[in-house]
């Protein structure tokens, strides 16, 4: 059989290969979204958490608009980071426990794309709703109108990075019995640069500071995360099932 494959090892075979990789990518993305939709909690938890944390600040700090404007960018960004981390564990945990992860690793398709599909699904479930909801919460925190676009854009670039880097941490710890804080210890150092740049961009725009460098840095981090992190996650998963 392999002899046949090798003899017709032409562009036709390669085309067929990339089609089946694409099919496996789509099937994995669809499967993870389907699981999330069937388990409503997965879908609601990150958004509810984001909403609750942000709405506690006016109560806990001060309802004073001046005060809230000052901290609004940071509060939205920190809450988005925590909401993303809260849902990270779902990424590989169930698959590890029911054996689906082994099936994923034994697919002849490149693991990079399968992991990427799972990360994109995680972002669509936990990141995108936060991005969509953020203007509402920013309004609650008296964020100045000129900063809205920047906030949504930085979150749009930043939250995928949180999912991608977070995936490495989960992949490394999925085999451990008691993970506790290890996940946070691994993931937070990777994600803090995004938090710092993202929050700073939103604060800076209020003072009229030019933002090109902030977006360049965020974009660079996203590009790096897209290329490197599924590879790192894939390697970590191989170690975890060992």
């Amino acid at each position: 059989m392999s002899g046949d494959i090798r003899s017709e090892g032409n562009s036709n075979y390669e085309l067929q290969q990339s089609v089946s990789t694409w099919t496996a990518f789509c099937a994995t993305l669809k499967r993870d979204l389907l699981i999330a939709f069937k388990r409503r909690n997965d879908l609601l938890n990150p958004v509810m958490f984001f909403l609750i944390v942000v709405s506690l600040f006016p109560l806990g700090v001060s309802p004073d608009p001046m005060e809230l404007t000052r901290i609004s960018a940071g509060v939205v960004w920190v809450s988005a980071l925590l909401a993303s981390m809260l849902s990270l564990d779902n990424l590989y945990r169930a698959d590890y426990e029911d054996g689906s992860l082994e099936q994923l690793l034994l697919s002849p398709q490149p693991l990079y794309f399968l992991v990427l599909a799972k990360n994109i699904a995680h972002w669509l479930i936990s990141g995108l709703p936060v991005v969509i909801l953020s203007p509402l919460l920013a309004y609650m925190l008296y964020l100045p109108a000129e900063a809205y676009t920047t906030m949504v854009l930085t979150l749009l670039i930043g939250t995928p990075v949180l999912s991608l880097f977070g995936s490495i941490g989960v992949a490394l710890t999925v085999g451990l019995g008691s993970r506790g804080l290890i996940l946070a210890v691994i993931v937070l150092p990777l994600t803090t640069p995004v938090l710092i740049i993202g929050a700073k961009a939103v604060t800076d725009v209020m003072f009229g500071v030019p933002l090109a460098s902030h977006f360049a840095l965020l974009g660079a981090i996203l590009a790096l995360a897209l290329v490197m992190s599924p590879l790192a996650s894939a390697a970590a998963l191989r170690i975890s099932v060992n």
């Binding site: 392999s2 099937a27 689906s100 034994l106």
Partner: protein, 229 residues
Amino acid sequence: MTTNLQNSVFSSPSPSIAAQPLLQARQLFCERDERILFSGLDFELFAGQLMQVMGSNGSGKTSLLRILCGLNDHFEGDILWRGEPASEQREQYLASLLYIGHRAGVNRILTPRENLRWSAALHSPVDDHRIEAALARVGLRAYEDIPCRNLSAGQTQRVALARLLISQAILWVLDEPFTTLDVQGVKDLELLLAEHVAAGGSVLLTTHHQLSVSCEVGRLNLDEMRRLS
């Protein structure tokens, strides 16, 4: 239906392939928790052969299967696929391999149909008729759209085994496939294994169950190996 399909997939192995073992292990050594599970383990598996890995609990049967699939790399030695190191042709090797482990790989929230659709897509997608036919053959007709968490352990195992019917893999690696199956399920699976072997496929499996299949059964006893070494 399956027999026809498998015949068409693996038909008429050329003489060179027939003479060459499909899967070959050379001088495998595995140590776990400072205990040697096996050392200097050699075996060959040919197309159209069924091999049962035997051994007492903890003798390393599961470790051996996972090593052969590439899920476990705590070992020394060589694994050859059609005469070439499996690690150098991972993609071809995995495309020819189907592994069903202790954990069935069945998601509890999804239905059998959705589970199989994904499993198939990881290798080569199949249409829904094939999936329905496979589920019907393992005795899950009318359960296609019930979430797997509502199925019994035996039925969940049947969902995993339905993968054998939609797969085009020539090598099946099965870790304790008979556990939780009822009497009829055991018979069905034995028939399925015999069909696969008759069609030129190979099976490597662990079980404590006394196999009664129409084909010849090769045996690899890890306990004896340890005594000899």
